[in-house]
C-alpha cells in the first residue's frame, strides 16, 4: 500500500493553461467595462502621472525648470521655464498612449478563470501598482529623451553621445516593447505557476460518511 503523499507538481510539467473558452469569454465580457472604467479614471490618472513624473524630474535637475502641463484630457506638454516663452513648450505627447495598457492589465488579471476573486483582486492591485510606477518612469524618460535628442543644437550642447544614446534607447525600449509587453509579463509573473500546475492545493480527505440508501438506519 502506498503512503499518502502531498500532491506534487511534475518537474517536467508542461503548461496546464486555463481553458481557452473560459478565458476568452471572460475577456470579451470584461474588456468593455474595464475600458469604460479606464476612460473615466483617465483624467485623475493623468494628473497623478504628470505629478509623479514632474517630481522625479525635479529630483534630477537643478534648478527645477520642467513643468508637465495637461492638455485636452488626453495629452500633455513639456514646458521648460528657462526657455523663452514663445519656445517654452518643447514637446507634446499623448498620455493615453502611455497608459492604455492598464486596460490590458486589468482585463487579463480579472479574466483568468479558476482563481478566487479575492486573489484576482489582490494580484490586480499589485499589478496596477507596478504599472503606475512603470508609467511614471516612462513619462520621465519621454521627457529626458526629448531633452537629450529632440531639441537640436540645445540637446547636442547639453548632452553627450552616451547620454543621448542611453536616454533614447531606454525611452524606445520602455515605450514600445515593455509598455506593450508589461501586461503579459505581469500576468505571467502572477499566474504562470497556476498555469503550469505548480501550485497544487492539497486535497484534504473528509470523514463524512457516504450517504445511506433511503429507508435504512445508520448502523452504530
Amino acid at each position: 500500500m502506498k503512503e499518502p503523499t502531498e500532491p506534487q507538481a511534475d518537474p517536467h510539467s508542461p503548461p496546464a493553461v486555463p481553458r481557452m473558452r473560459g478565458l476568452v469569454r471572460n475577456l470579451l465580457l470584461l474588456i468593455i467595462p474595464v475600458a469604460i472604467v479606464w476612460y473615466l479614471v483617465t483624467p485623475l490618472y493623468n494628473r497623478l502621472l504628470l505629478g509623479g513624473a514632474q517630481t522625479l524630474l525635479h529630483w534630477t535637475e537643478s534648478p527645477d525648470v520642467t513643468n508637465l502641463l495637461p492638455r485636452d484630457g488626453q495629452s500633455a506638454f513639456v514646458q521648460r521655464r528657462d526657455f523663452p516663452p514663445s519656445k517654452s513648450l518643447v514637446h507634446g505627447f499623448q498620455l493615453t498612449d502611455v497608459h492604455f495598457h492598464l486596460i490590458l492589465v486589468a482585463t487579463l488579471f480579472l479574466a483568468i478563470p479558476g482563481i478566487p476573486w479575492r486573489r484576482r483582486l489582490e494580484n490586480l492591485a499589485w499589478a496596477i501598482g507596478i504599472t503606475v510606477f512603470f508609467d511614471v518612469l516612462l513619462v520621465f524618460f519621454i521627457v529626458k529623451s526629448t531633452y537629450a535628442t529632440g531639441l537640436g543644437a540645445w540637446s547636442a550642447g547639453h548632452y553627450g553621445a552616451f547620454a543621448q544614446n542611453a536616454y533614447g534607447l531606454t525611452k524606445h525600449l520602455m515605450d514600445l516593447p515593455f509598455k506593450l509587453g508589461l501586461p503579459f509579463l505581469l500576468w505571467a509573473a502572477f499566474y504562470l505557476g497556476d498555469l503550469r500546475g505548480d501550485r497544487v492545493e492539497p486535497v484534504i480527505a473528509t470523514s463524512r460518511p457516504a450517504p445511506l440508501p433511503r429507508g435504512r438506519k445508520k448502523a452504530r
Binding site: E6, L23, P177
Partner: protein, 189 residues
C-alpha cells in the same frame, strides 16, 4: 511542492527558497524580458530598420492597399504610405505588428517546450498576428475615412489593445496545445 524533510532548500533563507521554488517562473520572466529587449534593440539598429523593417512595413502597406482596393476604396501605395482621395495612413514602426510579433516570439522562446513546437508556434502565430494587423490597418483607414473623430482613440487605444491581446491569447492557445509528457511514475509503469 516537496515535503520539508526531503526539501534541500529548507536550510536556506526565505529569498533563496522563493527563488528555488519559483525557479521556472523567474527563468521564464527573465528570458522573456531579455529576448524582448534584445530583439527590440536589434530592430532599432539603423541598418536592420532600413533593410528589414522598412521593406517589411512596405509589404504590409502593399497587402493593405490590395485589401482596401478589394473593398472598393481607390487607394494607392507610396512606400509605407496608403493614400486615398479622402484620407491617408502612414504605417510606421509601432503599427506594423512587429512589436506584437516580438512579444509573441519572446514568450514562445522563453517557454520550455520542444523546439519543433516552438518553430510551429512561431510560424502560425506570426501569420495570425500579421493577419490581425492587416485587419487593423484596413479598419483604421476606413475609420479615418468614415469616422475621423474616433481615429485617434481607435489607433492608440483600441487596436493596440486588440493586437496585443490577440498575441497573448495566441501564446496561451499554443501553450495549451503542447503535448504533455507522462509523469515519471506513470512512465515507469
Amino acid at each position: 511542492m516537496t515535503t520539508q524533510a526531503s526539501d534541500p532548500t529548507s536550510g536556506i533563507s526565505g529569498i533563496g527558497r522563493f527563488f528555488r521554488t519559483n525557479r521556472r517562473e523567474i527563468l521564464f520572466l527573465v528570458l522573456f524580458a531579455l529576448i524582448l529587449g534584445a530583439s527590440f534593440a536589434l530592430i532599432s539598429v539603423n541598418w536592420v530598420n532600413d533593410h528589414v523593417i522598412e521593406p517589411f512595413t512596405g509589404g504590409i502597406a502593399s497587402a493593405s492597399t490590395g485589401a482596401l482596393n478589394l473593398l472598393g476604396q481607390k487607394v494607392h501605395q507610396q512606400g509605407t504610405l496608403i493614400q486615398g482621395p479622402r484620407f491617408a495612413v502612414n504605417i510606421k514602426n509601432g503599427c506594423n505588428g512587429v512589436e506584437a510579433m516580438l512579444i509573441f516570439l519572446a514568450a514562445v522562446l522563453a517557454f520550455p517546450a520542444p523546439w519543433k513546437s516552438q518553430l510551429a508556434g512561431l510560424a502560425l502565430g506570426i501569420v495570425a498576428i500579421q493577419a490581425i494587423n492587416l485587419i487593423r490597418v484596413v479598419a483604421l483607414y476606413l475609420t479615418g475615412v468614415y469616422f475621423p473623430k474616433v481615429f485617434n482613440a481607435s489607433h492608440t487605444v483600441i487596436w493596440q489593445t486588440v493586437v496585443i491581446l490577440a498575441s497573448v491569447l495566441l501564446w496561451i492557445y499554443w501553450a495549451n496545445r503542447l503535448p504533455r509528457p507522462m509523469p515519471p511514475s506513470e512512465t515507469a509503469a
